[in-house]
Symmetry: C2
Subunit: 323 residues, 2 copies
């Protein structure tokens, strides 16, 4: 029996895959060499999950790996027709980012409520500018995305005294943590009442561009939008217009349609817009956590046991009982 | 029966005391006129709690109010010998600031862990600088101050997954929320192990200057100090030295020995030091909350019922079962 071949679409630093020693041959590729190496691979580890190389390389000639694992929660870069139509199984990094991202969002909610950026800007100018700021307790939030990341965000905001409404693919009564889960149909009723909107949805045709001028117009002028999903969830020109016109209280984008955001983008200077470089889930050790998660799944694959975190290729994410 | 006279040491904006109409005569004073008006007053409301006017005016000639209420949690400005030796009762704003300050501290912990200031500084320069940041979950904190503010901070950090050690005036086993409350004697064992130190203590002779070079030297180079107590808890020169030398990971001071901090203070530019203008508890509506709290206590005083939030003048704060 030949050892299975695990092809890694590399990124720096490389994953620690010592546990594969003697059990698999590890091959490496980059965006240029991926197409030529794909036919040799039994498994593809998309370590550089910011690359579109798989989408470009896959439709070419030759055999294809039966399993693709992406070291990311979002799988949108893999949802192209040839891979969707194939028998190849896709798995993702479900779980690794939940709590780090929830902490990041809770931190943004508190930082926005307390205007930390205004305080630190005044500090740079040696100015002591006392202001009153908002309570977070007693405010309310709409979280779009009822997967593990959205749920963890919701639980953390609840622990801060925020009333949370969760929006998922389909409405359900009697959710154990949130009482009720709404469908996107309810957004016209929910958004005008909320202080915080958090986007933690998978990027699918249904959610692409969902935060456009029409949706943003539903929000109060004091409301704030936080996006840790995918950049394409938000129509950034519409968001910038709303912020410049004072029709929205503020926003924080950890993800952008175009990453990294170019230095000459006007978004950097939009008032009341916080931009962070797609780092909400990336805590110290995250790469090792991602590698370990792949290796755990490899153990299952190698033993012919069912993989965990298998993406529903029609839905575009890993479904679960409560999403 | 003459109406009681309530003297207000004013601050702008004035308290809303409509509820006193027909029940008390409201007199006003400022730092200059306080001494001459004190003998006329039955009750003194220290609305401008940042003023040392009471300390200066009180030792003069004439009668003195029997009750002094300060619209602040800290009563350190009232702990001078002549007031301590008198029969006058002191009450404070216990409770109003607990949750707002806890939110502020939780926000600082998250903002420091995720390096929001670094991200927003990069945003100003249009730079996309991805970094890994710390998890808050699984970290640990020492909170100095076991009154309602320290306890609320502790509960909120616990809800974020932080292991909290509470330090109070005296050690106790079997605290319902924190398992164990330590005395300051335990700081040499606690501080070398902690990620976060939060000062929420009352300012007393025992706590003044407690965060000096010697105490700061006990902390890990990665640890962070947050002070929302009183400026004089921290020896700021020692803190600045530790931060400049990289012996401490960071600090956030919402209170300073000298407020407002003068524009030429070198503290503004100390690396990894966040300065905010004594605003951690001051949420929208806080002044009305403070006025209402005084009025509730006035109702008791007027009905000859026991006041709440009575300061133990020997301890220097309002004692309670669990502090």
């Amino acid at each position: 029996m030949t050892a299975p071949r695990v092809l890694v679409l590399d990124d720096d630093p490389l994953p620690r895959l010592d546990r594969l020693a003697g059990r698999a041959d590890v091959l490496h590729s980059n965006a240029k060499t991926l197409a030529s190496r794909l036919p040799e691979a039994d498994v593809l580890l998309v370590w550089d999950f910011t690359s579109d190389a798989v989408r470009h390389a896959w439709p070419g000639p030759g055999a294809r790996p039966r399993w693709v694992h992406t070291a990311s929660a979002g799988v949108d870069r893999l949802l192209f027709p040839e891979l969707l139509a194939s028998d190849t199984v896709i798995t993702n990094a479900r779980g690794v980012f939940d709590r780090p991202i929830a902490e990041y969002v809770a931190g943004l909610v508190l930082a926005l409520a307390k205007d930390f950026r205004g305080t630190w800007a005044a500090q740079q100018e040696h100015r002591w500018v006392h202001r009153e700021t908002a309570k977070v307790y007693g405010s309310n939030a709409v979280i779009v995305g009822s997967g593990p990341i959205g749920r963890r965000i919701g639980a953390m905001l609840q622990s801060l005294g925020v009333a949370v409404e969760l929006v998922g693919r389909r409405a359900r009564e009697r959710d154990p943590a949130f009482g009720r889960v709404h469908s996107a149909d309810s957004l016209p009723e929910l958004l005008p009442e909320t202080d915080w909107v958090v986007c933690a949805a998978p990027l699918t045709p249904q959610t692409t561009g969902m935060f456009d001028a029409e949706t943003l117009a539903l929000l109060r002028p004091s409301a704030r939008l936080i996006n840790i999903g995918r950049g394409a969830h938000v129509v950034t020109d519409d968001l910038a217009d709303a912020l410049r016109a004072g029709r929205l209280g503020g926003a924080a984008l950890d993800v952008l349609p175009d990453e990294p955001l170019p230095p000459d983008s006007p978004l950097w200077d939009v008032p009341n817009l916080l931009i962070s470089p797609h780092m909400s889930g990336d805590t110290f050790g995250w790469r090792d956590d991602l590698a370990d998660q792949f290796l755990d799944n490899f153990d299952r694959w190698h033993a012919d046991r069912p993989l965990f975190s298998v993406v529903d290729k029609q839905l575009g994410y890993v479904p679960s009982e409560d999403t």
